[in-house]
Symmetry: C2
Subunit: 179 residues, 2 copies
DNA sequence: TCTTGAATAGTCAAAGTTGACTAGTCAAAA
DNA sequence: TTTTGACTAGTCAACTTTGACTATTCAAGA
């Protein structure tokens, strides 16, 4: 749903190839969304079937043909609708990263702490990466700011978890656990 | 990857039907992971092929047969490996909820604010829901606490965004935009 | 000049995911 | 008692996603 919105929003700024769309997303929005090349083309096909985009087969010189996608009025309408739908709603993110926490009692305290510190380093590294991104103008900066806010919040939570585990008595052995 | 970990972790606490596994996840962990019934069975089939679980066809009375899954030693090994892998790494969550923000400039300021306030209400409602969950014992509480932490952080960020948009000059009209 | 590697553009078969279904059991209301 | 609705248990065809390809162009270095 949001991937359609994204493709429409990009096409709104001008006609593009499927390849360019995918490439832009991969380079700039990989932290937000996940859109592999074949999926991008599949969505574009569907959007074409919906009448949201039209394709023009173009060739420059004798290079192999390329398909250039551009927005139709129906596509603009869809964009407007999807944008409002997206902004007005909130869908909580789901990492699978939490699942392990549900079973952390299985591990000896020392190993649990070692692994969580390793995880903390990973969060920290991602945070440093985003802190190094130069300021952008426009609403793209919002996305970066959100990611920064999210990563800082995760880091803070992880620190709380580590402190909590550290303060606990040594965990008892359980069924099926290696010593 | 984390869904296998989850299934293995649950089966570790005792043999179960595919249906019970799915049902438990749906009821208690829907905020963390997403595992539809047919996907659960597909994963169990794969795990069986891996030798991580075994199936016993059982019937009680003359009710139709049921398949009871249980962990093998190889499954326990896989669980231990996946658990360490999961805890030691961090994979940032991806909502698609952010995509809309990238295009918020398209909307008139007033409408943008109205939609963001609607979104804020949605976050607030989810937060209230989780604040109402009674305290659990054990590491399940960690998952709840994480969700609370996450939702509070999102709410705070949204408030910053709303304040930021509010403080901005009225947005200029752009290409393709309805008046 | 020729080769190599990166970038551009897209495809395909295989794998994963899911909405909608079947089918039996059970408890309670009509 | 029989109908209704919820619960248990699982399946299937359709749809979506993806890893791994093909094939051309282009620039740089050997």
């Amino acid at each position: 749903m949001e991937r359609e919105l994204l493709l429409l929003g990009l096409l709104r700024q001008g006609a593009m190839h499927g390849y360019q769309l995918h490439d832009f997303i991969e380079r700039n929005l990989a932290f937000c969304t996940d859109l592999k090349k074949p999926t991008a083309y599949a969505l574009l096909d569907k959007m074409q079937a919906n009448g949201w985009v039209v394709v023009r087969e173009a060739r420059e010189g004798n290079r192999p043909y390329k398909r250039v996608y551009s927005l139709t009025p129906a596509g603009e309408e869809a964009f407007q609708r999807l944008l409002r739908e997206n902004l007005g709603a909130f869908i909580a993110a789901k990492t699978g990263s939490d699942i392990g926490l549900a079973f952390i009692d299985v591990l000896p305290k020392a190993e649990a702490l070692q692994l969580l510190n390793q995880r903390r380093a990973a969060v920290s590294a991602q945070l440093a990466e985003f802190e190094a991104v130069p300021q952008h103008q426009g609403s793209y900066q919002l996305l970066i700011d959100h990611q920064l806010h999210y990563l800082r919040s995760e880091l803070q939570w992880l620190d709380e978890v580590i402190a909590h585990i550290r303060s606990r008595r040594h965990v008892l052995r359980r069924h099926g656990e290696r010593m």
